[in-house]
Each structure stands twice: as structure tokens, then as C-alpha cells.
């Protein structure tokens, strides 16, 4: 019986991904990026000295051409993908962990705990996130640890998802099955784990992807302005180098160096948003019409 249920679920998934081109696009591209980031660096050697002629146009040997020192741009993109994806994933995972736990506690407990937590949340919301991020990362300059950078990102951006999760929990709290569990004397932890969390999980999954999009925006932006010099070929640093050292804005032949990271960011962000919409479709059949 279990097996048939799983098979039915898989069938639904396949039907959704077969019927919606954008979902399929998102899924394929994100998987492609993950594969590139996971195994790409083992196959493609990163050349940091410049072994070839500079300013080459894209060719079979150099799919994205070479930069102003003759280094292969494609290799830099592949190695940068690992940093960008890993950092964005860690950052959004920590953010979601903080916002889900605080949001659920505030929603379930209510009363003083709720108003105290929401006071802190509202205070965090008034501080503009990106400028704060710049200042905090600059204070601990020199760290290249993705865990610490992820933690900083989470500290700055947990507030608004926490509020959203709390309002979800508040609406679930009044439902009959939660009241029933309460009457049966289950502990709050039990209710959170078995009654609340399974129902907000799809919402959390969509949020994870949306936070990841925000994290990529902020973290690539931070390395673009030079606030986090933590990698040789992070995409933000590539853009910075392309503009400031290779002169991509005035020298047309340096353009591939700028367009490659820009294009990779565009493709990744669009794929992530398509993927998040397809997850919404999976869990919310009302969106599936057409």
C-alpha cells in the first residue's frame, strides 16, 4: 500500500513537470548547476597564472573565452559556482532554521513570549538589511568561512520569514486537530513536530528557495563591492575584476569576462524562482489548473 502511494506521488510529480515547461526548466537548470558545482572543479583545472593568449573569443577550447591575463573564463565560472551555491545554500538553511523556530515558538506560545519575540523581529525589520550586511561583513574582514558568512546573512535576514511563518502557525493553531492533540495532553513540542511542521513544510521549502535567491543577490553583491574577499573566482569578484581590471565597460573584447558571470547569475536566479513555483504547484493543487 505504501509503495503504491509513493508511486502515485511520483506520477503526480512527473505530470506536473511534464505539463509545465517553466517547472521543467527550473528543475533541470538547478540540477545542472548543482552537478557543475559538485563535480565540475574535479574535472576542470583552474588556471590562475594565464597560460593562453588574453582576450580570446569563445571557442571549443575556451567555451567562454579567456580574460585579460589569458585565463580560461569557463574554469573560473565552474569554480565560482561551488562557492556561490554553497554559500547561498548554507545562508538560506541557517535563515530558515532561525525563522522557523522563532516563528513557530511565537505562534504557538502566544502571549508574552509572542509579543517579546515579535518586538525583536519588528526591530530587526526596521534596519535596512543590505547596508547592515556590508558593515558587519567589513568588521570581520578576512573570514572566508562560508559558515560564518552564512550566519551573518541569517542574522540580518531572518526577521521577515519569521513573521510569515508565525502567521501561518497562528492560523493552524486554531484548527480542530491541534485542539484535539492539546486535549489529549500532548506536549507543545509534540504538537509542533507532528501537527504544525508537516503542514508548513511546503511553505518552508518555497521560502528556502526564495531566501536563496535573496542570499545570492546579497552575497554576490557583497563580493562585487569587495566587502568579502573570500574566493579567487567568486562571480561577484569576477564582475568586479572584469570591470575594474579588464575594462569590460570600455573594451569590447573584454565583454565575455563580464557577460559570463552576469549570465550565470540570471540563469540561476530565474531557474530558482521557477523551481519554487513548481514546488508551490505540487503542494497546492489549486495552482495546477490549465
Amino acid at each position: 500500500m505504501k509503495v503504491s502511494e509513493i508511486l502515485r506521488e511520483i506520477k503526480v510529480l512527473l505530470r506536473i513537470y511534464a505539463s509545465s515547461k517553466s517547472s521543467l526548466f527550473g528543475l533541470t537548470v538547478v540540477i545542472g548547476y548543482i552537478i557543475m558545482a559538485a563535480i565540475g572543479p574535479y574535472f576542470i583545472r583552474l588556471d590562475l597564472i594565464g597560460l593562453d593568449k588574453p582576450y580570446q573569443l569563445p571557442s571549443l577550447k575556451h567555451p567562454f573565452g579567456t580574460d585579460y591575463l589569458g585565463r580560461d573564463i569557463f574554469a573560473q565560472i565552474v569554480h565560482g559556482a561551488r562557492d556561490v551555491l554553497l554559500l547561498a545554500f548554507i545562508a538560506s538553511l541557517i535563515t530558515v532554521a532561525i525563522s522557523v523556530s522563532l516563528g513557530t515558538i511565537a505562534g504557538i506560545k502566544g502571549g508574552k513570549v509572542d509579543s517579546c519575540l515579535m518586538f525583536i523581529t519588528d526591530m530587526m525589520l526596521t534596519i535596512p538589511g543590505f547596508p547592515l550586511l556590508i558593515v558587519v561583513t567589513s568588521l570581520i574582514k578576512g573570514t572566508s568561512n562560508p559558515l560564518i558568512l552564512g550566519l551573518i546573512y541569517a542574522m540580518v535576514s531572518w526577521a521577515s520569514p519569521a513573521r510569515a511563518i508565525r502567521s501561518q502557525v497562528l492560523s493552524l493553531k486554531r484548527r480542530d486537530f491541534v485542539e484535539a492533540s492539546r486535549c489529549m495532553g500532548f506536549s507543545t513540542l509534540y504538537i509542533i513536530y507532528f501537527d504544525i511542521l508537516p503542514l508548513i513544510m511546503p511553505y518552508v521549502a518555497v521560502n528556502l528557495l526564495l531566501i536563496m535567491i535573496g542570499a545570492i543577490y546579497s552575497l554576490v553583491g557583497l563580493s562585487l563591492i569587495g566587502a568579502i574577499p573570500w574566493s579567487e573566482c567568486n562571480w561577484g569578484i569576477m564582475i568586479n575584476v572584469a570591470v575594474n581590471y579588464a575594462g569590460a565597460l570600455s573594451v569590447p573584447k573584454a565583454l565575455p569576462h563580464l557577460i559570463a558571470p552576469l549570465g550565470m547569475i540570471i540563469l540561476l536566479q530565474v531557474a530558482l524562482i521557477m523551481l519554487s513555483r513548481s514546488i508551490e504547484m505540487i503542494f497546492n493543487p489549486r495552482l495546477r489548473e490549465r
Binding site: S138, K141, L249, P252, M274
Partner: protein, 302 residues
Amino acid sequence: MPGNIIDSLIGLYISRYGMSYEDAYRLLSASFGIALEKPLHEQYISFLLNIFTGKLGLSMGYSNIPVIEIVAAAIPWTVFTVSIGLFSSFIIGILLGLLAAYKHGSIIDRFITTLSTITAAIPNYVFAYLLIVIFVTNARLFPMVGAYDASLVTPGFNLPFIIDVLRHAFLPILSYFIASFGNWVLYMRSNVITVLGEDYVQAAKARGLSKSRIMWMYVGRNAMLPLFTLLAINIGYIFGGSTLIEFVFTYPGIGYYISRSVSTRDYPLMQGLFFILIISVTLSNLIADFVYSRLDPRVRFE
């Protein structure tokens, strides 16, 4: 704290002027008006007292110019570009969202929704660079750096200056607009679809009111309400709203100085900019609450 600017300046003074450590220390603390020998809490209290009289200290990266002057010079440029970008994306977003919701399921709806989703997901600095590549490098239609060209025009109320300012501001505004109208469209569209299912819209139809009257007075107005709160919050973020766009265009607004103050370790300037940011966000949140209770009588429950 790494990169303490006082320490690096002391090092500079010692090597350049052959001062002793104590002399350099005394000179710097006098020139920045910071009593470094006092305990930290006394320094903090004097900092707090100074804020109320508008004394935000002296910039350390821009040769001792008072922070308040830099901030005052930067605010107009940021407010000018970001507010135009914000309001134009808000208005266009509302109109497109309304259109998409009314044509729900049609090809127009799909086009608008897909376009909005894609543009909203792409970072604004990516658009900024693409616009530079298209309009500045290739077509040479617009200038790229600064807010106006001081060698060509004199600041003041004259036509060449205004045209030059508009030409410099066009691309930053456009990149802000492209990156942010999509969110308004998507939010408005989902609100309109919700409102269209409400009873009072059915009642209005049954009363035989004209289509446009229902669309603007019944559906549009109610669907826009939550967006106004968001708009008010975003007005608060105007002051720090486009750090990266200003960085890309070297546009001398608040965001540009934030990124500069970080790389020059200019802590007084950083503090001053942040102070302005937080004041503006808090104020606009307050205004948002007042305005919302005026706009939506249902909120005025007391």
C-alpha cells in the same frame, strides 16, 4: 577590531612626519574630536548627546569633512533617483497587475506574469551592468559616472544642468525600475484575483454598475490597500535602497557612500549614514500605520 583607522593613521603619521607614537595619537584624537583616553561608556554618552545637536562627527576618509555635510549632499541624489524608480515601478506594477488579473489565464496574463517573475528574480546590479554595456559602451547614449558633469555644466536652476542631471540619472532609475516592478505586478495580481471573488464585487455587478467603475472603485481600490503598506515601508528604504546600483554607476548617493565608507574604514561616516537610514525607516513605518488607518476604515477598531 581589524582595520582600525586610528591605528593605520598613527602608523602613517609616524612614518611620514617622524612623530612619536604619543604625539600622533594626541594629534589624531584632537583633530577628530574623540577623547580616546576616556572610558568607552563616556565616549558613547557624548556620542549620543552629540547626535541630538546634529553633530555626527568628522569623516575620517574624506579629510575631516563633517559627516553631516556629506550626508546632506548625498541625500538629494538618492531620494531623487530612488523615489522616481519606486513610484514609477509602483504605478506600472499596479496597472499591469490589474490587467493581468482581469485577463486571468490569457496569453497577456501569462506574458506579464512570466516577465515579472523573471525580472523580479534578477539582481538590480546585473541590469545596471547590462544597461551600461548596451547604452553606454555600445550606443554611447548616456554618461556613466557621477550625478552630473562638473566640467560641462554649472549646478543651479538652468536648462543644461537639469538635462545633464536627468541624463546621468536615467540609467540608475531604469535599472531600479526593471528590477522592482515585477514584485508589484505579482502582488497586485494575486490581490485582485482574491478581491474578484468577494461578495461585494458580485453585488456591484448585480447592481449593474459599469465595468470600469467596478474595476477602479471596487476591485482596484481594495486590492491596492495592502500594497500601500508595502509602499510606505519602501519609502523608508529609499535612503539606503540602492547601494549596489549607486556603486555600479558611481552615483554619489547614500548607498555609494556606504560602500565607500566600508572600504576606507570611515567609521564616523558609516555611523552617520546608518543613523539617517534607521531614522527614516522608523519614521516611515509610523507614517505607514497612520496612513493605513486613514485608507482602510476597517483597521480603526478602537
